[in-house]
């Protein structure tokens, strides 16, 4: 019964998305970049690109790091949670769904949080809370950060991430990994974009403190 229901819902969902994003799909047409991406090899996991293969294997292989989802981040960084809800990163999955690529690993590797890692995004059905590019999509698994924050309380400042703000060179590599030559249309100046995303709501003119 469940199976039939699932198939029904998915059909319904695709239909709805198709209807709702019809104008967009008409404008976009057949995107040559998408086609090029489909023909190219599977993209590296961004975290592996940024950290280097060895450090990535050490960190992820140790089993200490786990993706927790942005509702946990919200408990302390509520302003960021709200700000990023308006950001294109939070609609990454939607843009896949409208073209029916939501199960394509070539796309999911950048459009979901931690896809390809053991604790990251698997599929919309299994891990809906890790869809879209959330906080952990760029900073890496957050469980250690939360653990540290709980232990050190008020004195805690930063740390615990594989690509935290304390390691900007790694964090910038995370950006470049997905926003490569093919997909860099979103920005032209990395440093400018990087500074913009320091704000809670990167798309607003107002600066949060």
């Amino acid at each position: 019964m469940n199976n039939s229901k699932n198939s029904n819902t998915s059909f319904f969902k695709i239909f709805l998305i198709f209807i709702s994003f019809m104008p967009l799909t008409l404008v976009a047409g057949d995107n040559p970049r998408v086609n090029a991406e489909m023909e190219s090899e599977l993209h590296n996991i961004p975290l592996k690109d940024a950290l280097g293969e060895e450090a990535y294997n050490d960190a992820i292989g140790s089993g200490k790091y786990r993706y927790v989802g942005n509702s946990k981040c919200r408990l302390c960084h509520r302003k960021f949670f709200l700000g990023r809800k308006k950001d294109p990163h939070d609609y990454a999955m939607k843009s896949l769904e409208k073209k029916g690529y939501e199960n394509n690993p070539k796309c999911l590797i950048c459009h979901a949080t931690g896809f390809g890692t053991p604790t990251g995004f698997i599929s919309l059905e299994k891990t809906p809370r890790l869809s879209n590019v959330q906080c952990e999509g760029c900073h890496g698994p957050g469980n250690i950060h939360i653990k540290m924050a709980k232990r050190e309380r008020d004195s805690f400042h930063s740390g615990g991430f594989l690509a935290g703000t304390d390691r900007p060179e790694v964090l910038k590599k995370m950006c470049i990994s997905c926003h490569n030559e093919r997909w860099d249309r979103s920005y032209h100046n990395l440093d400018k974009a990087y500074n913009k995303y320091k704000k809670a709501d990167p798309n607003s003119k107002r600066r949060y403190r």
Partner: protein, 517 residues
Amino acid sequence: MATLIRRYKIPIVLLMLVLGIAYLSYYNYKIQKNLLLTQMHNNSLNIVSSVTAAINRFDAIKSTMNLQKLVKDVSFGLEIFEFRFLEPDGTIRNSMFQDEIGKVYTNKSYVRTMQGEQKIKQFFFEVRDYVDVMAIYYPIYKDNELIGLIDLAVDISEYKVLDNSNENFSVLRRQSDIINLLKSIEGSIKNSLDVSAKTDINEFLYNYIQSTKNILEISLLDSQNKVHVSSNKNIIGTVLSNKELPPPGFLTLSDERPLYRTLVTTDISKNGHENLKLLLITDATAYSNHEFQLIRTASVTTFIALLFALFTTRSIYFSAIEQSRKEKERLEMLVKERTRAIEILSKTDALTGLWNRRYLEEMLEMEFKRARRHNFDISIMIIDLDHFKNVNDTYGHMAGDEVLREISSRITSCLRETDFIGRYGGEELVVILPMTTLHVAIKVANIILETISSKPVVFESQSIETTASIGMSCLRKDHTDHLKVFAEADEALYVAKENGRNRIEVYDHTKKESEIE
């Protein structure tokens, strides 16, 4: 004074050392003690500040005592999106978000609910923070009076993605789970409110003291030293006398237990009294133990230094005595040796090493007396080298001396150990043969003569032929004087010279007597 100092230099230096060490250990003790006191005082101040904060926050703590734990316990495999405990007026008493505690909740759905436009205790769907949630306001009543509301929201965005409908089966199934959870939370909240209502600040302080090891009493006093709040219920309301209120940081001994009292003005206000003073009494047993240990260490150090000094003095003293005793012994030995050497020198002849004339005469007298007493025999021979003057004239005095030395040693080799031989003068040698009859003495004399003439004396590649004449005599009963015996031997020698030298003549007393007659 100066001589006294010079004399007792070492003891004085050692005494100074002991005094120095004693002073140093005392100084060390004092510094450590002050350090300990400062440490204890700082500890007390830390305790005071934490107690002050605790008292100030007491009411707040009271209300949220158990709610904090509840938030952590909330799980049930549900993704809790928001959890708050609200007072009926909308003040947030507790929340997942620490920063909004104490503020007034302004959510539209809450306002609607409180105005009666929305049903209370019923699930509804709304969007919070751009996320689809299923929420409920769950009222908590006590004695039919609304005392608070639980605001619980569950994230259902995933179901919405899958189903696009709020009336999802799995969402609805969750509602019963959530209701069960809320019921248990309600029970806990009621419980905790009951408990906190019963807890008053005195009890709180008492429990605070129980949970620590060395705090004995915490009291709040007003400016008239009246106790308003105290962990010790017996003194609440009493006015403490100045005796019980020593100046801040004063160490007193009472009931076998050293106490440390700290009296600090705080910013606590209670029952209309502002800026109450906080009196903290802590157990200073650890401090006094430490102090005792410090004193003991200092005194032991001093005592050891004293012992060391005494021991050093003693060993220096004894080694000095030993040294002086050894020096004395050495000197005595030296004197003895010198004396003996001088004695021998005074008794012997320098040239030949034989006894000299004086000692010979002494010995002759002694032997004469001994022979008389014990009725022993005694023989005397006088040996005279023949033509010794010629030797001196021909070969020189050095040759004469050599001849004398050589002949002396040759004669000595012929004699027995008990015989005395001495140089009487010039080339005359005298031999005393105690306990020897004339018969034996003649045999000895013959050997001597033979030995002398057996080979010539060699001096600087010249051989000097030497012979000797010997006159002999022996003790007889009619002799009254030793000189007489000697004279008789001398006479016999004279006879030997007369009779042609290189021969032995014995004094013929019969002839002599007849001559006299």
